[in-house]
Structure formats: C-alpha cells, structure tokens
Symmetry: D3
Subunit: 238 residues, 6 copies
C-alpha cells in the first residue's frame, strides 16, 4: 500500500477555484491534495522582440515557490538574485505545454503571461501548475473574446498534466512528496484531451525502468489526465 | 466622502486566518479589505554570523509580491535578479517592527525568519504584513514553548501597523490603493499595545503637511492600531 | 551631557562649499561636524521612459559611501555587485525630499541626477546629503537659467533635513555617530523653509517613544532646519 | 527521405577520441557527425556541503557552448552574467544520467566534475555530451584506480544517449540541427547497456505524438544506444 | 638552461589551422606548444550604439578558458556569473591589438566579433590569441570581400604577439606556464609586421627590471614576432 | 606646444595631503593638476583564503570614480551591479605596483586594503592613484609600527607612477585628459626610487610607436618619477 493510502490508480482530490484573485485576466487556485498553487494569466499587449511584426502572439510562463511552501524553508530566489535550474526547467515546461493547445496566430500581437506560484507544496507542483494554468489561460482568453479584442479563441483543446512513478516496483499515479522522494522512477506526462502526448519527462531515480513499466505508467497517466480534464471542464462550466 | 465610502476613521474589515499553510511553524493569512498577504514565521536553529556565540536570537523578514498581485503585472524579482529598493525598504521595516516586541535573549541562538508574500494588493501591504506577521511569530513561538525549546516567551507585547493619510485635506485612516495614489500625505505608523510609537514613516506626496495634520493622523492611527491589536488577540484566542 | 558636549538643541557646525568639483553643473561639499559629503547635481537632457513625451522633467538621486568613510571599512558596493537595502532606502529618500520643492513641469524634458558620496561619516549622512544636495541642485538650475534652457526656476522653496533622537531620555538635535548608536529613538525630519513637513522617519531602537517625545523632537527639528536653511541661503549668496 | 540523406534508423558517424587535452583526469572529444564536444572529467578531493561526512562521493556536470559553435553567434554566458534555462536543464540532465551508473559510495568523499563544452553544434549536443562524458568519467575513475585511491570502480554499467523524433510523420534516429528544427516531436533517450531507461524527455513541437509513435521511437533509440555503447567500448579498448 | 630545454631565443612550435569549425566566417585553431586556442571571427551586421550612423565598423573580442584547460580546474565564469578581472583585461587587449591593423572606415557599419577560447593552456594564451585571431579576422574579411559586401580590405598589416621574460636573470622568448610562473619579469609585446610597437605590458613579478633587460627582451620579441607573422602568412597562403 | 601649455618634460603640480580623512590608518588626498584622488590604506587583521596559515601578509587595492568626477556623468558601478573591465584592470595594476615594494613576510597575517577613489578626473588617475596610495600605505605601516604590531617595516622602497605619451609626434610627460584623448601613444610607467621598472603598459592608440619613441618616453618617465618620489618624501617628512 502506498504511503498516502490511495490505490495505485487513484488521483488526489482536485479543486479548481476560478477568479481567485482580482486583478489578473485569469486567476485560478488549484489544489491537488495538499499542493496549492495560484495560477494567473495576464494579457500583455505586446510580443517579445523575436516575434515583433509577425502578426502572431506568444505565451510564456514563470514559476515560483513561496519560501516556506516546503517543509524546510528554501532561500527566496529574489533575495539570492537568481532562479535555480529547477525553476527554469519547470517554467519552460509549463510554457511549452500551454502553447501546444494555442493557435498563436489567432491571438494577435499580444502575450499571455502565466504565473504559477506555489503556496503549499506536496509533490506534483509542475503538473498541477499546467492543469491549473490552462484554466487561467482559458479565462484570460474569455476576457479578450468578451472585449472583442480577438474574433475566435486561439485555444485548440484542453491540456493537463500528471505525474506517475514506480514505487516499490508498482506503477502509481499522482505521487505526493513522500511517495516522490522514495520512488524509483518519476515521470511527468502532459496530454491533450484527445490523449495526444505533448511532453513526457521520466527519470529513473534508482533502478532504470523498463518499457513495460513505461506502458503501465502511460496507462495510469491517461486515466489521470482524463479525470483532470473533466475537473477543468467542470470548473469552466461553473 | 472617500472613494471607498468609508468614514475617515473607519478601518477596512480585517480577517486573520491562522494555520493557513501546513509547513511553517506560524502561518497566517491576513486580509485587510482586498489586500491579502500570507505571513509565515519559520524557526531556523542558527543565528547570523554577527550574533554567533552571543547567546541571543534574531528575527528577520523578507517581503515579496506575486507578479500579478497588482493591477498591472510587475516583473518577477527572482527573474530580474534583484529586489527593488521598495522591497528592501519594506522588509527592513517589518523586521525592525517585530524585533521591537521581542526580547531576543530569551529566544536562544535561533532565528525567526518571517516571510510576507502579497497574494493580492490594494494598498497598505507593508502595514498589513506587520500586523499579520506578529500573529505568525506568536504561533512559531508557541511551537517552541510547547516543544520546551525555550522556557519563557520572548514576546513582550503586541505590535501592529496601519497607514494614515491626508486625502483632499482630510486626515483618514487605512488608505486603500486608490486613496493612497491620490492622497497628499501617506504615513505608516507602527505601535505597540500600550500605544508606544515604534516606527513612523510619513511622506508628503503633494503639499507638505503641518504638525496639526500630524496630530490628527496620529489620533486616527492610535484608534486603528487598537482595533487591529484586538483582531490579533481575537485570532490568537480562537 | 551628550557625548559630543553639545547642548541638546545645538547643531554641529555646518560648512557648505560650492563649486567643489569642476565638471558637475552643481557641486557642493557639505560638512556637518565630521560628516563630509560631496553632493553633485548633473543635468541629463532626457527623462526616464515612464515620463517620455509628457513635457515634464525628473529628479533622481544616488548615494554611496567610500569604503573607508566609516570606522570599520565597508565592502565596496560596486565590488559586491549590489547596493544594500540601506543605500537604496537613503537614495529614494533624497530623491523624494528634493522633488518636494521642484515644479518638474518647469524643468522641461530633462533629469537632474543627484549624487551624494560620503567621504567621511560621523552620523547624519542622509540628512546632510539632502541639505547639501539642495544647494547643488540650485546651482545646476542656475546653469540652466543662465543658458536660457529654462525660463523660470522650477525650485519652489528650500528643503533641508536633520536628525533628532532621544538619548538617555532627553530629546536631542543632530546626533553624531556615537550618539546615534546609543540612542533610543532616531528620527530624520525633512522640512521646507515654511516649516512644512516633507518626510519624517522615526525608529524606536530601544523603548517605544511617546507622542510627547515626538513633539519635543519636532520642536528641535524645526529649530535645526531653520539654521540649516540659513546656512544654505548664506552659501548661495556668496 | 531525410535532409541528411540518412536512413530513418541510421546514426551519424561517431568518433570518440580519448586523452584529447592534457590536464584533466579524463578528456574526450566526441564527434557525432558535425557535432563536436570536449568532455572532461576532473577529480575534486571534496564533496558538496550536503554530503560532507557521509562517506560517499558525488558527480556533477556543467555544459557550455562556444559562442560561435552555432550558426548564429550566441551571446557568451560568462559575459551576460548568467546561464540560460536551456544550459541549466542540460547540465542537470547530464549529471543525473551519469550518476545512474555510479555507485557513489565506492567513490569516497570526492567529486567527479564533468564539463561538456560544445566546440561545434549540429543538433544532439546534450545526448552526445552524455555519451562522451561517460568515457571521460571512465578514464578519470581509471586514474583513481591506478593511484589506488579507490579499491573498486564505482561504475556499474555503460550509459549513452541519443535523440529520436518524428519527422514528416516518420520516426527517425539521431536528428541533426536541420532535422531537429523541422520535426514534430523531439525526444532524448538515455539508456544503460542492458537497455534500462534512465531518462526520457520528449516534446511535441507541432502535433502531439501517439503511443504508437513513442513505441517506434523507442525501438530506434534502443538500436542507436546499442551502437553508441559499442563505440564507447571500442574507444575504451584502444 | 630553461625548463622547456629551448634556447633563450627559441619560440615554441606554432601550428595555425584555418577553417577549424564550420559556422564562423573565420575559424582558426592556434597551437603554440601545448597552448591550444580556438579563435573565431564572426561578422555582425551592426555596430555598437556609440558608433551608430558614423559610417564605420568596429571590432571587439571576448576571451574564455574551458574550466579544465588548466592544471587545476577553474570555476566556470558563466556559472559564477561574472568574468574575472584577468579575463576582462585580456579581451580588452586582444580587441585593441587587432583594431591597430584595421581601417574601420573600410568595414562599413558592421562589427567583427572575435572569440578566443582556450582549449588547453600552457602559458602565453593572450599572445597566442592575438596571433591566431588575426588569421581568423583575415578569413572573415575574405568572406566579406568575396561577397562584395566591402570593396577593399580594412586590414592594413599583420599583427602578432609574443611573451618575453627574465628567467633566472636571462631574458627569454615565449615562456610556457612553468617558466612564466617562476620568472622575474613577464612582458607581452604586440607588434605589426613593420615592427611597430602596438602594445607592451610588462610586470616585474619579483625584482624590478632595468632598461637594459627591456632592450634585450624587445630584441627577442622582435625576432619572435617575425617568425609568428611568417607562420600567419604561411597559413594564409595554404 | 601642448594643450596644457606645459613643456614636454613638465609634470603637473602635485599636492599630497596626508590624514585627509579620519578613520583610515592611512588617508591621502593626491592632486595632480585637476586630478584629485582620495587614497586610503586600511589594515585588516586577516589574509585571503589562499594565504591563510602561511605566515605572510597581503596587499590589495580597489579603485572607483565618483559618477560625476568626469565631464560626462558615468553610471555608478554599484548601481549597475558590476565593475567595468577598465576598473578591474586599474585596481589590479595598483595592487601589483604597491606589492612590488612590500616584503609581505614582514607584515604578519594581515592585509593592507587600499582604496583609490577619484573625486575629480583629468587624466592620469591610475598613475596618481599609485603615487598617492604609496603614501597612504606608508602611514598605515607607521600605525602598525607605533602600535608594535610589527617589528620592522615591510616597505622596501618608494614606488610611483606617471604617464607618458607621444602627442603630435613629440614624446611628452604626464598627459592630462585632453592630451591623452588626442595622443598617438599612451604609456603608464611604474618605477621604484632606484629607477627599476615595475610595470609598463603602453598602447598605440593611432600609429604604432618605435623603439626610439619608447626610449624617449622612458627618459621622460624617469625624470617624472624622480620628482614624484621627491614629493612623496616631502609629504612624509611633514
């Protein structure tokens, strides 16, 4: 049995709260078990230099953790004066994942700036960031549509992410911190609503994993993504 | 009448939620109107170099704003690679204010690290940080007392802070963002529960202010601080 | 009796030397007792981005200390690669204080860049910087008037600053380093020549201070500011 | 047909030159087609702080590109003052991949510091870095064994890496720059000599990829890794 | 006898390999004994701000060492986040030396960006960088001439550099690392092909040197420069 | 005739004021014509890591310019967050020059930290820094001798520095800013009182210089150094 007492294929409970803060065009609190992240999507009426004049938009993401979102207080990155490699890796992943369901030519010359800030961490912050940020982006696009700043939505489908892993030889879905820190393999999967693979990043922390392990993990991920996209749709319909 | 429709001497509604996040020894969400700040107090079992071996503790504070806590998205300080002068000024103020009610010799050689992170900003973030952080520190000290790491509380009294200002010639209590950006004088007052002055920082944004204005602002501040300390006590008794 | 042997209401001797260095439009050496600061005002024929095209000017200030201006050598901020929080706080204060007596719409689209560099420190460097920099700005404006770059002076009055404190229970004017490091309360007051309050920043280092202490400190400050503005006028008439 | 005229399952020609530079304990030039990388392994007789006193060793990696290793000159990271997110991501990957075949308890309290510096880039620099660095590490360990600094090798197997992708709908092995920049999916696979998966990082640049695509890519990768490990063994036997 | 067994006036063997890497307009590997440096010259179709619109070009240089190009691994400057004073000093020297034989008005509004990256160091890296970079610049200019981007070559002559020193009282040419670290005086000389002096930088590491020592060192340098320029010409004729 | 109306072999007037500021163990204002520099020498009772436990001392130097010491205001290096290549080059030169007349084994395990801060610049700031800093170091050593912290002076002789150049074909001594910016060759010479050469750094800004030019420049430098060392001795005898 896993430390969290969940079944191997059991997701943590997910809550997606829209309009969580007041200023952003899209603002979502996502809670996956004890992991809590504020995801905002801000509209910036310009594009980065490399896209200027090309008639298309951009989406980019930043990620941060409150210093005491974790069990041991981490040093504040703003005070240290630089973002860690882990932070950079995660924010690049979030950006790529969200762009995979955006037709940026329909956005016009503007940028959707996503911010994912972890209030409380219990594993899976990068995947929850993607799942939550999709809803925030959806709301920001909704604002643009209502203002008639764009004619059609650039969003081409849903995208969500979940972690899977091999814990004591058994493939498992949606690892919390304790499970993650003890597992042999840790993999993050990003999928669209038609179950196309957008990103997969797997690391064998201890033993290498086999292609059979991989298949079982992908089965679990597929099921988890389906539930997470259902939760996104649910939240967007409220 | 002021933009917020409040009376000149009327504080915004204050909510202090303890145990807001799970990991920190003290964790508080303070809400003053639309201003929402997470204040955590973490215990670090060492002191900075300049105090090592002196048999006393230390308390220090850091402050940050989520990029989209404000109306316009601000650049993330971690991404920019440095904290602004404003951030540094505020975190130094929070640290001094909280140390004013701490007998650090009773803390032992450990540091209370305070983090104030603004989730949503509507004026008065530095004063709300102080008011909320006091409660988080109180809870962190409580943890140390329960673990018998210290014998007696180092806390010597309550401390809270509030802003006052002169808006269209009339002194007013607890300015929100709109009031703050239009007022002539903006002053932040930090006081203890016996109404001793700990910090005062006043700036004439437009016209200089007179000693008479100052007196009226101090009267308002005194009343506001009383109410805020009552809210702190209330929260600590729950 | 105070360590400096001065009476509680006695300012240190003040010397203001204009045209101290050759290149700047305004260049002043101010000496307050053993505190010696070079204040220069440079004219830059452009404004920061946020003011471009608005038909008004700007004034900004920077502050630094020579590494061995103090008793213990401080690390050079340029070598460390960042300015301390204290430095940032002081230079923001100097800028605000000087802007309080400038009608920036009369300056045209140019910036007055003030630099205050402490050659020797003995307490009160931020207040002496303000008092000295005012004269440097006055000279820089004089250059612009003589060149007919502007038609009328943007300067609307004098501004000067002084510290006050409570030392062993007695309010005192213009603390030197020794007095400052032992006092209970330390307050910096910035006033105009009609004794309007522009900035006040008070900190209780030990015991909180009362409103009665505050009143006595303000009386002292008022008297000190009057003498400092007389010294400015004296220097400007030479 | 692919731009490089290779068959879909055809690796670029691989050259591994040992003892390429004189100072490092292990120094390898790896050439995969036009991609050329110097990989060195240096022995440092201490471990990072977090491992001090734990009786085990560490392996860490850094990665860089000469500014004109690419078609367009890139800004020198040392001059810019920071490493890009891409650089950090790659060097973290190289370190994890190499540690997967190291029993660090057999290394003693020392660190193997790997440096991978790209002299000329034509796609696949991160995977070639891993393949080449393994040989450099092997040589550095050889030095320690010959000096009898360690008793048994900490190396538990071979590790190598290769890229695979989907180019115009067809899965392909070992993409060069041109192929990489036009392909729909780009995946980097790290495997051991018993074909255990150590890392997989796949990104759909255009269309999401299916599990069937993934299977075909893994088949290709498996074959490529076999050939690369044969090349490593070949080089180590010379 | 000197540690390297060479005669006092004997240069190390020099190899200049053109077209060493594929992307740069000029790319040279220079080997002086065990010192090996990749020198590239890249053409950038713009000039720095201070030259914009002046109808002339610019040439600038950067210098770096691979972390393990030296006997002890050096910290990577990109990871440290800043270039050392030594690095800055060397790259400024390389730029000045190369500009001394360039008529920048004939280059048009473009910049030649030189990069000198030390693959293996054994003394004399800054002088070998200059000698090698000249050839790379020559090739980059050749590219511009062939493309008819410029009409006439901006190159006005050859430039090369060599070190001389006083080792155990005897002036010697072209010091390797061992000789350099033990010598009393270390001097770098940059000369044109008509033996005009462009740069000389001499440092007495131990005893000061006399004008007689200086004369003997200059005689040696003159001879060395002649041989190095012959090697440049040789390489350019191949 | 030269712009400054001086004869080719005429030094600017030199003033060396000791005890210029109060806190440093040695504090000197040196004025060479309009160039004015504060040179302080501070005693630090420890040595850098690389010398710890070796029973010898160290001397190091830092250099800075006040932002408006020059005709155009320069950006403050502390605000920019890094020192320029020029600054680093100069402070390394000052350190080497002063160490050339120090027997560091007689200093004990302490560091002399030299700071040269340019108050007003008119050419020759690096050479004046060396000449002035020698006197400050002499005073700091005097303090150590008086306190009997050391038994014998580590100072082995005088050191001073001067610039020479070729201006319109004529070698000249001690260039001011105007002369320096128009001259063909600019050379800085550091010599001891027995006229041993410690450093020479010459750059042909326009035409290369000949060995004959060099000889004439060295004759001028020799004479200038003699006068500067006489001024140092004079100041030290007052």
């Amino acid at each position: 049995m896993r430390p969290s007492k969940r079944r191997p294929d059991q997701l943590r409970s997910v809550q997606i709260t829209r309009h969580y803060t007041r200023h952003a065009e899209g603002s979502v609190l996502i809670e996956c078990g004890d992991t809590r992240i504020i995801c905002t999507a801000s509209v910036d009426e310009k594009v980065p230099l490399f896209l200027r004049g090309k008639g298309q938009g951009w989406l980019t993401a930043e990620y941060g953790m409150l210093p005491r979102s974790t069990n041991e207080r981490m040093q504040r990155e703003a005070a240290k004066g630089k973002q860690s490699g882990r932070t950079m890796e995660i924010q690049r992943l979030i950006g790529r994942a969200l762009r995979s369901v955006m037709d940026l030519t329909k956005l016009g010359e503007r940028t959707i700036q996503v911010d994912c800030d972890v209030i409380q961490a219990d594993g899976g912050t990068r995947t929850a960031s993607i799942t939550g940020a999709f809803v925030a982006v959806h709301d920001a696009i909704g604002t643009l549509l209502r203002k008639q700043a764009i004619e059609a939505t650039p969003i081409t489908g849903h995208v969500a992410a979940v972690s899977v892993g091999v814990y004591e030889g058994v493939p498992m879905l949606d690892l919390d911190y304790l499970e993650d820190s003890r597992c042999d393999t840790d993999m993050n999967i990003v999928m669209t609503d038609d179950l196309g693979l957008v990103e997969m990043q797997g690391t064998a922390e201890g033993m290498p994993f086999s292609r059979n392990d991989l298949d079982m993990m992908l089965d679990l991920a597929q099921q988890g993504i389906r539930e997470l996209i259902a939760a996104q749709k649910n939240a967007l319909n409220r």
